[in-house]
Amino acid sequence: MAVRHKSVETKYMEERGAALRGLRQLDRRTFMKVLAATAGAVMAKGLVPPHTFQLVNVANAAVDKSWSTAGASGTPPFMFAYLSDTHMYVRAKNQRFVKGAVKAVEDVNALDPQPDFVLFGGDLAQLGRPEELEQGQEILAMLKAPVKMMVGEHDWFYDLGDKWQQLFGPPNYSFDWKGVHVIVLMSVHEKDFWTARKLTPAERIQIVAGLDNPIQSRFEVGDEERDWLKNDLAKVPTTTPLLIFSHSPLYKYYRNWNFWTEDAEQVQALLRSYPNVTVIHGHTHQVLFNQIGNISFYGMLSTAWPWPYAPQGLPPLTVQMNRADPYDQLDGLGYGQLNVNKEGLPDMLYNLWDRNPVTIHSEYLRSHGKIYRPPAPQFASY
């Protein structure tokens, strides 16, 4: 096919792409300068650069403004964003998932004000290959805000975490942020199903990548890491709000798809003495929330594809999102913002592409659904 015609947009994209390809050689400050320069060139041509913006103030206006009046440093409120489940193959194989991730990165970069940090919720890669993870790191490096990484099973089970840890460090860690204690867990340990079967790494990840593949075992945090968690919490007063990140939901939703953590009850028990605990998890690719005792749970959206709701076990407090339109490659996908209030409890804002955003007020869960009920779906899953 003779390439005879190029539109102005294409020319702009090419220039921009060329600038971005030099990304890895640049530190962040220089990188931002390059970006600005490209945008400037475009403005000179009378084109509007395709920056992504989110009218945060619009989406939030009806619910809660406490977070936006930023507290003094050292206390809530604050806002952070998440991206999750990008499931990227290398872009030569599949551009769609790469573009989903890039779109989310640009959306988050356009947030005003910027989030304090961006949590990446796991499953950066689809098949855990080193080149997939490197490409993922390259794309996440475009985020303006600091990034906190979490691992998912798709990232881990090709080389059992070697490459991921080399790129991003230990898979479980904690830090304190404006009065909230934040813990990132590696919750997708699996029992060894591969040695006895003499599986290659490629075969192993293929099995793990199949959500409904029963050969793999159920996810767990595991004894070792639960001990680590216990020790970590020993230093944290029970008055401190906790924010826990895990890839799998830290409760039991649907076993067959590993919407599940085998030792969830034991982990929950360690958190019981803290009145304000929020768990943010990936893996489920859907609008999903739950309340168990003192713990509020929120599932993150994917940028690659939405999962259907499981046939059983959906938490009764969850108000389903509408079924996704298969004809719209953005539908059912997106990213999120969490606006942490003075009590250290986040309101979850699901920024769904091509849909109205959905806000889940922390008090909706804490009141067990008595107030702030989100709108019902027109076309629920069945």
Binding site: Y89, K93, N94, Q95, R96, Q126, G210, L211, D212, N213, N256, W257, W305, P306, W307, P308, A310, P311, R323, D325, P326, Y327, Q329, F379, S381, Y382
Partner: protein, 261 residues
């Protein structure tokens, strides 16, 4: 490929299909479809047989390629059934029920009784599905004889094994981006684990994005072509048939609800 003689289905509810016996065109039939050997037509007409492979009559006036009227076909069907019953005086045949309402009507029962006195034959045993194979060998309380009364437990096992293989093949393809012909590493299970959210029981239904009524296979093909980025499969492609089988199998027990959204 119009066969010279067509077979009558003996499933009672399909008796009316006899009217179309001479027209039955097994188009797109599977190549390995078994056939009965037919006797030669002695008078240059067309042999019409029951599916027992034994009972047949020749319709003398019907040359190959000709068709019968509905009334003629019905009379042929009646003659065949009469012949079968004559040859099997001890067999009981439960006639087709036009509708549940007719069942409740004494007059209708009486007329059916006139054709084949019913002794409350367990009609369910005639349509026994593979999955519901009887555990024990047939006993004297169950009808014995030809066709549906002659199947043994092993037959049920064969049926089930064959059906399960068909479904298993569908499951394999469903989970295999290469078998689906995906150019971008996408397979069905990535969005539909355990074939969830495929709701095969709701087809045919108006598919908003196609702006027309679709069958399940239309949507499978759409998915293969669009998100999966493969080539749409021919309706008779064994892969498409297997995918359809797997998806239906995953929804066993769910009531049909065509047109649901």
């Amino acid at each position: 490929m119009i066969s010279k003689a067509a077979f009558l289905l003996t499933v009672p509810s399909l008796l009316a299909a006899a009217a179309f016996a001479a027209l039955a065109i097994p188009s797109r039939a599977q190549q390995q479809q078994p056939t009965h050997n037919l006797p030669t037509a002695a008078h240059g007409g067309t042999i019409v047989m029951l599916c027992d492979g034994k009972t047949g009559i020749e319709v003398k006036d019907l040359k190959p390629g000709q068709t019968m009227s509905r009334a003629e076909a019905q009379s042929v069907a009646d003659a065949l059934m009469a012949k079968w019953q004559h040859a099997h005086p001890n067999e009981h045949w439960q006639m087709a029920q036009a509708s549940p309402a007719a069942e409740a009507s004494p007059a209708a029962s009486a007329s059916r009784g006139a054709i084949a006195p019913s002794h409350a034959a367990p009609s369910s045993s005639q349509t026994q599905s593979a999955a519901n194979a009887p555990a024990a060998a047939p006993s004297l309380t169950v009808q014995q004889g030809d066709t549906y009364a002659s199947f043994q437990p092993r037959d049920y096992k064969v049926w089930k094994a064959e059906t399960d293989k068909f479904v298993a093949d569908g499951k394999r393809i469903f989970h295999d981006d290469k078998a689906l012909g995906s150019t971008i590493g996408v397979s069905c299970d990535m969005c539909h684990p355990d074939a969830a959210n495929t709701h095969p029981e709701t087809y045919p239904k108006y598919q908003v994005q196609l702006q027309k009524v679709a069958l399940l296979r239309d949507m499978i093909d759409w998915c293969v072509e669009n998100p999966v980025k493969g080539k749409a499969l021919d309706p008779n492609d064994p892969k498409l048939r297997a995918l359809e089988a797997y998806i239906y199998a995953q929804r066993k027990g769910v009531p049909l609800d065509y047109g649901k959204h």
